[in-house]
Symmetry: C2
Subunit: 244 residues, 2 copies
Amino acid sequence: MIAGLEDELAKRFDIHFQHPELLDEAFTQASYVNEHPHQNLKFYERIEFLGDAVLQLTVSEYIYKRYPEMPQGKLTRLRAAMVQKASFAKFALECHFDQYIRLGRGEEKEGARHRSSLLCDIFESFIGALYLDQGKDAVVAFITKVIFPKLDAGWFDHAIDYKTALQEWLQRDGDVIIDYDLKREDGPENDRNFTMTVAADQKIIGEGTGKSKKNAEQAAALQALQSLRGQQETLVTHGKDELD
Amino acid sequence: MIAGLEDELAKRFDIHFQHPELLDEAFTQASYVNEHPHQNLKFYERIEFLGDAVLQLTVSEYIYKRYPEMPQGKLTRLRAAMVQKASFAKFALECHFDQYIRLGRGEEKEGARHRSSLLCDIFESFIGALYLDQGKDAVVAFITKVIFPKLDAGWFDHAIDYKTALQEWLQRDGDVIIDYDLKREDGPENDRNFTMTVAADQKIIGEGTGKSKKNAEQAAALQALQSLRGQQETLVTHGKDELD
């Protein structure tokens, strides 16, 4: 048993493992197993293999249902951003998983505990363990706390572009009419600047400038998103700041 | 509704959709939607996005549990072989899915119905529809008929090597002691041939020759697999021949 891990999961996430040996496996690196040859330990790699696929499906299903009009190409880009190693490493840190990894002495010395690739692996293997212990619904409940709030917090906007992100944000609670209008065009002929506004139900909510109308629209959408999110800050339970 | 599709699924797989509109979506290409603009149709791409992830997980979980000693690297190679486009296209043909795809006239003329990439997509989108309609267990029941028997039939041996495949085959029903022994070594010094035998519980079941002992072992394992599978042919319900 790994000291403190079960308490942490119970306290922060109300997760209680029926088979804590799955947790041991999920948080143990091969280097630790090699240093304790008589303890008959397992290391996390097989369970990580499973966890990776569990995350692919649960994230896919969530965005498939949440964005019923989003075409496949955008869904694919958004999923790729959400399931990338860098994201998982941040989630692992946020969950304090780094504190509970069992490493061999050599790996510990070399700072493996803080390596993004290991943190990502451990996040996946934890998901694999949770899935084996309690099934898909428990995984969905967990990532509803840890991953999905980051969508509203804007972590993955770049994957779908700001105009789409703004549209998804505004239309969460029903139809909203979104208009982009040219407010101003200035500068010399070969170096024009365009300024666009974006309005939701005829109320201007953002403005942006760029070298093309398209770029100006993206800038306007980003400004609108930032201001809308500022207003709703209290709703975003898991902020980005903790991890950056 | 797509004529005949529901009957085929009911007859061959005992599958009955509660929401047949999901089936319509899963079997309809964008080209058909474009030619019928007033029917408010959906095409398969979004649902295929989901089906792809469902297959990743269900196949991963199956091989994870079936091969409890297989290390991650081999699991990953085996999964890659099982979920590749060429495999899915064959499964789609085996299920007669090609007959039910709704295509635009241009695509039909160009032979899209027989294109491996489209067949693969349709197999994935069918899985997505089945998952949405009836959940993961229904998908597992379906691929237990369509995909998993191919493991025993040897379709994916190359992904894990013949020695591993033989070991998995022999140890399905409990422990078997497998020995590889050098039977003969001949040829000139710079062009040696090695002949190895493989025995299961001290009974020789295969023999192979190669330029190294390792290659000879692989050849012996392959011969053993072929002969064992020949004996069990009647057990393999979905043979390879139909599709090749």
